[in-house]
């Protein structure tokens, strides 16, 4: 009887531990987010250095990055640069907003 209870306890422990491990690994989009952040930074740097103020969409490794550039209201010399990164399911991984000079 004692052995049976012990087996059940150990099995329950292992099952719960495995579930926690799987859920933690699954819920954490850390790597994807880091990859998305890196892509966003690269696009922002290209936009600023090359004065490339054209809206666009780039997809790479199941991450879609959408760039938009709009004029700042009532200040013609400024623009709002917005860059958003999404995963394949449309979940927003990273967002970047900055006011830049024309």
């Amino acid at each position: 009887m004692e052995a049976l209870v012990a087996i059940i306890v150990v099995m329950l422990g292992f099952v719960m531990g495995t579930m926690i491990y799987v859920n933690v690994m699954d819920s954490d989009k850390g790597f994807k987010k880091l990859e998305a952040a890196s892509m966003v930074r690269e696009i922002v740097a290209q936009t600023k250095s090359g004065d490339d103020f054209i809206e666009g969409k780039v997809t790479k490794d199941s991450i879609t990055v959408v760039k938009s550039v709009v004029s700042y209201p009532n200040v013609p010399s400024l623009m709002i640069l917005s860059v958003d990164a999404f995963d394949i399911k449309g979940y927003k991984l990273c967002t970047y907003n900055e006011i830049i000079t024309r």
Partner: protein, 420 residues
């Protein structure tokens, strides 16, 4: 041989699994927290910089000296508190961004990016007389000159020794200088009248600066040190930041005191030999810079003559000194009896600009621009109008990142330096 205590072993194994699982949960939680804090910090820092750009780009969006809360991207998540305050000839942009209990603030002194006339080497008002060059005078860059033009001359036993009179374009100047707006003159006047102190913390000067050092942030109220009598800033004293030192008579700055970003205002300001620092000086009568002084970027020497008296108002630099910044001499009286004079001696260097609606006596080097009503040359024997001798004006040696004081109209503004 193991004892039959399997339940005990099972409990221990379960406990170990529980500890490992909860550690994993905690690690994941703190990892996510850390990432959130980092991305949040990055976002509020970006918002602060965006705020500074907004202040510099828009004169109408913010009222001067008033704090405004602006929703940067219209999403009610990125709000910043912005303020632009006049700081002598420059302006200071203050930007504070919040997110939860996190706060980030930045302050920057900003000025104007030189355009057309400011980018030229020389703008001399057309008063009907030509500009005459003698000795080793060298001018490089676009020049706005009178209709009478430019010619070689012979004075004090010296002929013009160069190959060309001007290494650059020659354009015709107008009969008046580029206009300094009334708003700017009023702003400068308020610096050296006590009117400007009404919102500040005023300290009466009694023989010295407390504890030999005084620093003040631009996010705090301005500290105004005031005395009716002469103020002597002694060697070893240190002043930095949001501080105005005002005397009703005279200020004297000793050699070894250290100053950074502060404003000095008095009818007469004397800087002793070999001083090094970064200051804005406002005087109504005269500014004397001793020999071998180094006024670091961004310094500003300003004479604003508002009263009729018998003497000329002078900005004078003794030989061997240098200034990186601006020299501004303005006679508000429109009187021809007394004038303002900027006197740059041999071995002096000006990196930046000189604006004078009176005379400029140039014997040294200017890497930048001179805009003036008249050029004159004083020698031991005589005084010559419209003559340059052994002087150098080269606007091509000025850095493209050089930012002028906000005194003349210009389209673009830029950061001079970050302050605290």
């Amino acid at each position: 041989m193991l004892k039959a205590a399997s339940l005990f072993y099972a409990t221990v194994i379960s406990l170990i699994i529980a500890i490992i699982s909860s550690s994993l949960l905690l690690f994941s939680f703190f990892n996510n927290q850390e990432k959130l804090i980092y991305s949040n910090q990055e976002r509020i820092y970006r918002n602060v910089i965006s705020g500074i750009r907004l202040i510099m780009a828009s004169d109408t969006l913010l009222s001067e000296d008033q704090k405004s809360i602006i929703d940067l991207f219209g999403n009610k998540a990125d709000s910043v508190a912005l303020q632009s305050i006049a700081w002598g000839g420059f302006k200071v942009a203050l930007s504070i961004a919040y997110s939860g209990n996190k706060k980030c603030n930045k302050a920057a002194i900003y000025g104007i990016v030189p355009d057309t006339i400011n980018k030229s080497a020389l703008y001399l008002v057309d008063n009907g007389k030509p500009l005459t060059l003698c000795g080793k005078t060298f001018i490089k860059g676009t020049c706005y000159l009178p209709k009478a033009g430019i010619k070689r001359g012979y004075i004090e036993g010296k002929n013009f020794e160069g190959d060309e009179l001007v290494y650059g374009l020659i354009k015709q100047s107008n009969k008046a200088l580029p206009v300094v707006s009334k708003k700017i003159i009023e702003r400068l006047k308020s610096v050296y009248t006590k009117k400007g102190f009404q919102d500040d913390s005023v300290i009466n000067y009694t023989g010295g600066i407390s504890n030999d050092s005084l620093t003040n942030s631009f996010f705090s109220k301005t500290i105004a040190i005031y005395s009716h009598d002469k103020i002597i800033i002694n060697s070893g004293e240190f002043c930095s930041g949001n501080i105005i030192i005002h005397s009703d008579t005279e200020i004297e700055v000793e050699q070894h005191c250290k100053m950074q970003d502060i404003i000095l205002t008095a009818p007469i300001v004397k800087i002793k030999d070999s001083f090094t620092g970064n200051i804005q000086v406002f005087a109504s009568d005269s500014i004397c810079i001793g020999a071998k002084c180094v006024l670091q970027y961004p310094s500003l020497l300003t004479i604003l003559k508002e009263k009729i008296n018998n003497s000329n108002s002078v900005i004078k630099m003794e030989p061997g000194s240098s200034i990186s910044g601006n020299i501004f001499a303005y006679n508000g009286m429109q009187s021809t009896q007394t004038q303002v004079l900027v006197c740059i001696n041999e071995k002096d260097t000006v990196i930046g600009s000189i604006y004078s609606n009176g005379n400029v006596d140039l014997k040294g080097l200017v890497y930048g621009n001179i805009t003036c009503n008249q050029i004159m040359l004083k020698t031991t024997n005589s005084e010559y109008e419209g003559y340059l001798m052994d002087a150098t004006i080269d606007c091509t040696k000025l850095s493209k990142y050089f930012v002028y004081a906000d005194l003349l109209p210009a389209k673009k503004k830029s950061i001079v330096k970050w302050v605290y």
